[in-house]
Amino acid sequence: MENAEKQKSEERVETPNLKGTLLSVLLLGVFIIVSWFGVFALFLSR
């Protein structure tokens, strides 16, 4: 009983808010993809 409660409270602490991280890594992904296709377009045009 006590143990279960302890676990529960630990779980609550366990989930940090990472919304900013999610958006940051998405932006990073977009940057990589846009740059890659930019140079790829240059390759196709030459």
């Binding site: 630990e10 602490v13 366990e14 940090p16 808010n17 990472l18 919304k19 900013g20 991280t21 958006l23 940051s24 890594v25 990073l28 940057f31 990589i32 740059s35 890659w36 140079v39 790829f40 240059l42 390759f43 030459r46």
Partner: protein, 552 residues
């Protein structure tokens, strides 16, 4: 059994400082050469006293790419190991031996380069031929670094014996991964130097197999960049959290990403040889796929850096989507310099993905884009992180304080570096896309229209290079302050801890036999067949070219 005392003793300080002295002297000389190069390439300077552009270029590449990095890294790693697992008297003796052997090798190679007897650039591609002493010097540098490898392996091994059921300290684990990577990678370049270059430069062998030598070089050349990068990652994963008042995001994730770097950064050298005839395209493709595997630990690192910053910021009470970012300790240079380095890695890493893609590689191969690329990776991301480490490591070792004034100078230094590099590397990238070749002295290329497009960017590179050289002068001043003049005191050696309720790290992450086994397996898979192919279908070897550049 007596456990070795942890922490940095006076003798440990001397050892690491010896390496750091060489690194900062190299920074000054190499930086000066870089300035000269950008000025020559802008068409505004011709070198006096018969010094050639390629001589200067070789000094720049060798002293910054090979000497500064290797000495700083090995010195830093000795400090990390002493701090986390300890060093015995005997191990320290061997550590000094590694320093002396590396230093002798460096001096031998440097003298030959300065005399113009080894203007072969830092890749020393055959059939350009240097004076034999240059190659002997390189061999000694490698052998010296191997001694360092085995000292570090031994340190962790001894610690493990007295800490049977504990996981090794994160930083010690990372150092050993980096040294395993280095040892396996340098076997290739050592083979090229000892078996091919030395007999050939001495005249015992008349010709050299060019493709074999280049393949062995790039077997080493790609992991080389990870050997530079991983010590920066050590600071990002395990030191920066402490500086910003946070905790390690995940010990397991950090170890797993280091393991993945070990696995996937060696069997990939062909991505530097995509335009090379004589290598089966299938195997180029396979190695490109393996190269792309390195993106996984790189993105894991990016994610865990953001997450570590956000968790720390939110715990301090900063709200909103990016409140945690705004309130990072931007005025603490121990954080600011490496952080700018991390941000530079966004375009740097992206450029790396572009370079490794075969079609895109055709657009940028051997152009200034590549030069721009590695000035972001090694000369910004890695170097600014090394500067960030120096701000606390040097005063910690010399028993001085990082004063407010030096801290602020460091902030200015970082900004100067960011501005100078944006201009220089930015214009290198653009002129590369416009076709400007790299590694070449100033030329109008017979007045062709295309070459006239490049000149504006070459002038921009000289402007950026000049700003960067001012940054180097400031950094050397800071180094001298921290070493000899800053007020006496104690500076913290920041090592971050895990969360109190962190999940335990799985034991298999420390299964060295498993990881080294897979590493060797992947290397054999990626290289055996194409390498046999290269040797069986080799054209006649090449006689040496010592002129117009090389050894003349």
């Amino acid at each position: 059994m007596i456990a070795t005392k942890l922490g940095i003793s006076k003798s440990d300080s001397k050892l690491t400082m010896a390496f750091i002295y060489v690194a900062f002297i190299s920074l000054f000389i190499g930086g000066l050469m870089g300035l000269l190069q950008t000025l020559v390439r802008s068409g505004s300077l011709s070198l006096p006293w018969g010094i050639t552009y390629y001589q200067v270029l070789t000094v720049h590449g060798v002293i910054l790419g090979l000497v500064l990095t290797t000495f700083f890294i090995i010195g830093f790693q000795y400090a990390l190991m002493a701090k986390t697992v300890g060093i015995s008297k005997k191990q320290r003796l061997y550590a000094w031996l590694s320093f002396i052997v590396m230093l002798i090798g460096t001096v031998m190679a440097a003298v030959m380069v300065l005399l113009g007897k080894a203007s072969v650039l830092y890749t020393f591609y055959a059939p350009l031929q240097a004076h034999p002493i240059f190659y002997f010097g390189l061999a000694l540098v490698i052998i010296g670094s191997w001694i360092a490898c085995f000292v570090n392996f031994r340190q962790l091994y001894v610690w493990k014996k007295t800490h049977k059921d504990e996981k090794s300290p994160l930083l010690a684990f990372m150092v050993v991964i980096n040294m395993v990577l280095w040892f396996i990678a340098t076997l290739g370049v050592a083979a090229a130097v000892i078996v091919q270059f030395i007999p050939w430069s001495l005249g015992y062998a008349e010709t050299i197999n060019v493709l074999v030598s280049r393949t062995l070089f790039w077997y080493f050349g790609h992991p080389l960049v990870y050997f530079w990068l991983l010590p920066a990652y050590m600071a990002w994963y395990a030191i920066i959290p402490k500086i910003i008042g946070g905790k390690i995001f995940s010990d397991s994730l950090a170890r797993l990403s280091f393991v993945l770097f070990l696995l996937f950064s060696i069997p990939v050298g062909f991505h530097h040889q995509l335009t090379e005839p004589g290598i089966d395209p299938t195997w180029k493709f396979i190695q490109v796929v393996l190269t792309f595997m390195v993106i996984i630990p790189s993105l894991m690192t990016a994610f865990s850096m953001f997450a570590m910053f956000e968790i720390t910021g939110r715990r301090k009470g900063f709200r909103g989507l990016f409140g945690w970012f705004k309130h990072l300790p931007w005025k603490d240079v121990r954080f600011f310099a490496p952080m700018v380095g991390m941000l530079a890695f966004i375009p740097a890493g992206t450029g790396g993905i572009i370079n490794a893609s075969h079609q895109l590689n055709n657009v940028i191969h051997n152009t200034m884009w590549v030069t721009g690329h590695f000035h972001l990776t090694v000369a910004t991301t890695v170097l600014l992180t090394f500067f960030g480490i120096s701000y606390w490591l040097i005063p910690h070792l010399t028993g001085r304080k990082l004063t407010k004034k030096i801290n602020n100078l460091g902030l200015i230094q970082t900004v100067i570096w960011a501005v100078g590099m944006t201009i220089m590397s930015g214009s290198m990238h653009i002129s590369g896309l416009l076709g400007a070749p790299r590694r070449s002295a100033f030329s109008e290329y017979g007045g062709t229209a295309q070459a006239s497009d490049w000149i504006g960017y070459q002038i921009a590179q000289a402007v950026g290079g000049t700003i960067l050289f001012i940054g180097i002068l400031l950094m050397v001043y800071i180094f001298l302050q921290l070493t000899f003049f800053a007020p006496k005191g104690q500076e913290e050696f920041p090592i971050a801890e895990e969360e109190v309720n962190a999940q335990p790290t799985p034991l298999f992450l420390e299964n060295w036999k498993l990881w080294i086994g897979i590493t060797i397996g992947l290397i054999l898979f990626a290289y055996t067949i194409p390498f046999i192919d290269i040797i069986l279908h080799a054209p006649t070897g090449s006689e040496p070219f010592a002129w117009p550049i090389g050894n003349s």
